[in-house]
Amino acid sequence: MKYGVMVIGAGHAGCEAALAAARMGVKTALLAVDRTAIARMSCNPSIGGIAKSHIVHEIDALGGEMAVNTDYTGIQFRTLNTKKGPAVQATRVQCDKAFYPTRMQAVVDQTPNLDVIETLATDIWVENGKLRGVRDSNGETLAAETVVITAGTFLRGKIHIGDESFEGGRIGEKAAYDLSTSLESLGFRLRRLKTGTPPRIHRDSIDYECMELQPGLDPPPMFSWRAKRELFHVEQSGDDLFHVEQSDIRPWRPGSDQIPCYLTHTTPETHAIIEANLTRSAMYGGQIDATGVRYCPSIEDKIVRFRDKSSHHIFIEPEGRINDLVYPNGISNSFPKEVQDEFVRTIPGLSRAELVNYAYAIEYDFSDPTQLDHSLESKLVENLYFAGQVNGTTGYEEAAGQGLIAGINAAIKVIRGTPLILSRHESYIGVLVDDLVIKGTDEPYRMFTSRAEHRLMLRQDNARYRMRDHAARIGIVDPDMVSETGRYAEQVESEIERLNRVRRGDRTLAQILRRPDMSYGELDGRDETLPQEVARQVEITLKYDGYIQRDLERIEKARGMEEKAIPEWVDYNAIKSLRTESRQKLNEIQPRTIGQAARISGINPSDIAILSVVIKRGRA
């Protein structure tokens, strides 16, 4: 049996890749060591957050599963940055750690063209330079036309708890060593990164009255078009029989019965204990020398780097409805168990905390993503794709976004179409992929809104308008969504045209709406029949209008460079006037266009000028 697409690893990247390929009609296999670990949430069971939420909306608009899965298994829904303007507003949903993977497994099982194979991949099977498939730990060969590697933190994974350390891909799961070796022998550059997770506390050992209550939002903000629509219908009909489909979980209406989080903080005693034990931390004791997540620091890191801060926030987040554990967000560390017990108990509300699992840090191999094209196909081995944490990113959303792109492109490769490449000015996923393959990364890469040049255009509220043409071409979203998006887009356009035309006194309605304190709902002369979403798009578009126009001009200006191809004959080694380090960088990354070359870090304007001159002359 030969598969069109074979995905190694059923994490968040792997699930999106496999589902997309299968939904596109390509025979797909998803390789998982353990079926029940599919879509497991390694760390905090929360999806979204600033910039990550934007990615989830794009995934939904392109036909991925993460948004729907989150909405249907969420236990707390919030909007972040509410006051900072729509472009940086974000949705964050706390999921049920048990139900999230259960539902995803059910979706995987029910998807036609998709087989789950329970096995550990050990080798990329290449013959005469041609990819043939995968070999596994049972010595079997599994034939496939294309292979997507989504191995997460499992490649040569090594877990540290204080001075203890052992092999593992996640706590309680085996690491993948052979696959690393296989990739190296194919010539791939692998490097080391590390990340960590806090201890888990039994929910009955917490005194909640000492903490600040953090309730969810009602009505709950949702990611997916489908959940929003179904919820709307339920509300319209008064029908309460809405339930989590495709599983045997007790039915509940998404967004109902939300579970609150709590807020507490570290104390001077906490800091004293941590300072006194720094040398016993795996990270500070020197056992780990890989690069960690700068933006999601361990508690040791925070205390050492921000010495003038006497207290840090800790969020107490429930892991689910029937799960006894809570996740104390903000105290990931790599201390020995007894130090963890000691410092946790100095935190208000946690004085009798029972630590069920201890915090750990993990070191793992990642594959330098500059070895990939924008389609996430590797330049070294044709038909081999990489996605997710294995490319040096961190986070479920970043993983899922790449998984979706890699899965779609592997399937497109099989059916011989044009790859899906999202640009920086149309999506966060485009920014993510471009950063990875052009700049690479030295630390676990997390998405931020500041990474996007055209931030005001890339909002979560307009993701489906941005993705509409791509979604229509790929064809795995609900056709109703595509047509509704098209209809809404037209309505937005004609309403903006009307507002620019109709006057109240000496000003147009558009000018009146642009005033900071004005909203569409209060506008004298508004169209009451417009769907709420259309009205919102109209309002945001008009308020940002001047900025968006400037952005569009800038995009137009950059287009020349962006599209100027670097021909095959260009030989960087022969261009002696380039600095040696520039020559090295260009050789390593092999940009396709001048615009890409200009974004490579360390490449400066005069390098680009030289390159342009060489290309213009038409010879080296």
Partner: protein, 463 residues
């Protein structure tokens, strides 16, 4: 071999029209071998000589036959070896003694021997592409070439040494770090990061705004030093304007010839006054007229007057102040005007004190050849006062317009920050991004094709 500069370029580096020595430059991989072909001297040929050395000898033409090659000029030849040269390629500099005609013959000889005639600014372009100069320095070279006075040259050479670059870089770094703080307040919820206080960021952005305003102010200084102060002579017909022009010029050496073709009725001449370049413009007489050509001339005079650093209003002191004089005097900017009371030998119907309110009065009789020292002193006092005492830097027109854009963006950022609305932070961050982009264009830290084009198209041939 250098792949970009794989041919060898040549050009005359000295400005046309200047007497004395002419310098011809040759740069590129064949510079040494071409020099060997055209140059004869005692001892080793140029290609066998060390870098940074010079040798006396002769440039020969390629006449064959009985008489053999003929001498074009007696020259000093300087050898610079890559990368220790202006362009980082091999460079030969030929200093001829025979003036402009000889220089052109030498250039032709070099081209016959395999060199290519350089495009405008190509030497400096090569220096830039080879990493020898940054963009600001490259522009300074342009200014240095065009410098019309000693003080302009000092300014350009300061810029060449990078003092302007470091000033820009400081502001740039300040803006980048402020923007980064704003960005992180958007990308992290309050609890994730130690809070960055908006007022503190505001202070830093304000400092940047002040630095930028100061830099922009230096543009006026730069303009005067670089382009020369614009001094316009006005007055009614036949009061002695042209005579004044000639008097001012004959006592000095004119370094710029009249701008041909552009005006029929305004004459622009240049001279150096106390180390400062002055552009002197004689305008058509100011009076009501029906003649179309004359009206046109007067309109043109008006446009000069608007741009003038100093206006010299000439009047016939022997007739007294007429109504037209009165109207014209009222229009003068008192701090930047000199009023010449001419023809006092014919009788004095106007006293200096009567016009003092309109400008600095000078009494004289130009026709008698009385040296108008008083005029020159008053002129230089006014010009000096227009130059801010900040000698540190001055900026070019391209810099100025980018700085103006930067200032607009920074101001927008500041006003968004001042809105007391959290949503202002997002737009402020956006404005700072724009500011950084504009400022980066000054120092070349952001790349645009057309930027390079526009910078280099302004270079003269030879540098």
């Amino acid at each position: 071999m250098n792949m970009i500069n794989d041919d060898t370029i040549a050009a005359i580096a000295t400005p046309p029209g200047e007497g004395g020595i002419a310098i011809i430059r040759l740069s590129g991989p064949q510079a040494l071998s071409i020099a060997d072909r055209v140059f004869e001297c005692a001892g080793l040929p140029p290609s066998k000589r060390a870098g940074n050395s010079f040798v006396h000898g002769w440039i020969f033409d390629d006449t064959t036959g009985e008489a053999g090659p003929e001498v074009i000029d007696e020259v000093i030849l300087l050898v610079y070896r890559a990368p220790h040269s202006y362009t980082r390629d091999d460079v030969i500099e030929i200093q001829g003694h025979g003036g402009a005609v000889c220089a052109r013959r030498i250039l032709r000889r070099l081209i016959d021997a395999g060199a290519r005639s350089a495009d405008p600014g190509e030497f400096t372009r090569r220096a830039f592409l080879n990493g020898r100069l940054d963009l600001l320095q490259a522009e300074a070279v342009l200014d240095l070439i065009r410098a019309r006075s000693d003080r302009a040259a000092t300014m350009a050479s300061d810029q060449l040494n990078g003092s302007l670059s470091s000033l820009f870089n400081d502001i740039y770094d300040n803006l980048v770090s402020s923007a980064a703080d704003l960005e992180s307040s958007l990308d992290f919820s309050e609890d994730e990061l130690p809070g960055h206080v908006i007022p503190e960021i505001q202070d830093r952005v304000r400092t940047a705004a002040e630095d930028l305003a100061r830099l922009r102010a230096t543009w006026d200084e730069g303009q005067i030093l670089r382009e020369g102060a614009l001094v316009v002579i006005t007055g009614q017909p036949n009061v002695g304007k042209s005579t004044l022009l000639n008097r001012l010029l004959t006592s000095q050496r004119a370094i710029v010839s009249g701008t041909p073709g552009t005006t029929r009725d305004t004459i622009e001449e240049g001279f150096i006054l106390n180390g400062l370049a002055v552009r002197l413009v004689d305008t058509a007489g100011l009076r009501e007229t029906d003649c179309e050509v004359e009206r046109e001339g007067i309109a043109r005079a008006g446009s000069y007057i608007n741009r003038a650093d100093v206006q010299i209003y000439v009047m016939d002191a022997s007739i007294g102040i007429g109504t037209e004089d009165r109207t014209n005097l009222e229009r003068l900017d008192g701090d930047h005007s000199i009023i010449v009371l001419n023809k006092i030998d014919l009788g004095q119907a106007v006293e200096a004190d009567e016009v003092r309110a309109y400008g600095t009065p000078i009494e004289c009789c130009l026709i008698n050849g009385v040296a108008p020292d008083g005029i020159k002193d008053a002129l230089s006092t006014i010009i000096e006062s227009g130059i801010p005492q900040m000698q540190q830097a001055a900026i070019s027109e391209r810099h100025r317009s980018l700085i103006v854009n930067t200032i607009t963006s920074v101001d927008e950022g500041l006003s968004r920050l001042g809105e007391n609305e959290e949503s202002g932070v997002l737009l402020a961050a956006n404005a700072l991004r724009d500011a950084i982009e504009h400022l980066g264009l000054v120092t070349g830290r952001v790349y645009h094709d057309e930027l390079l084009e526009s910078v280099f198209s302004r270079f003269c041939v030879g540098k």
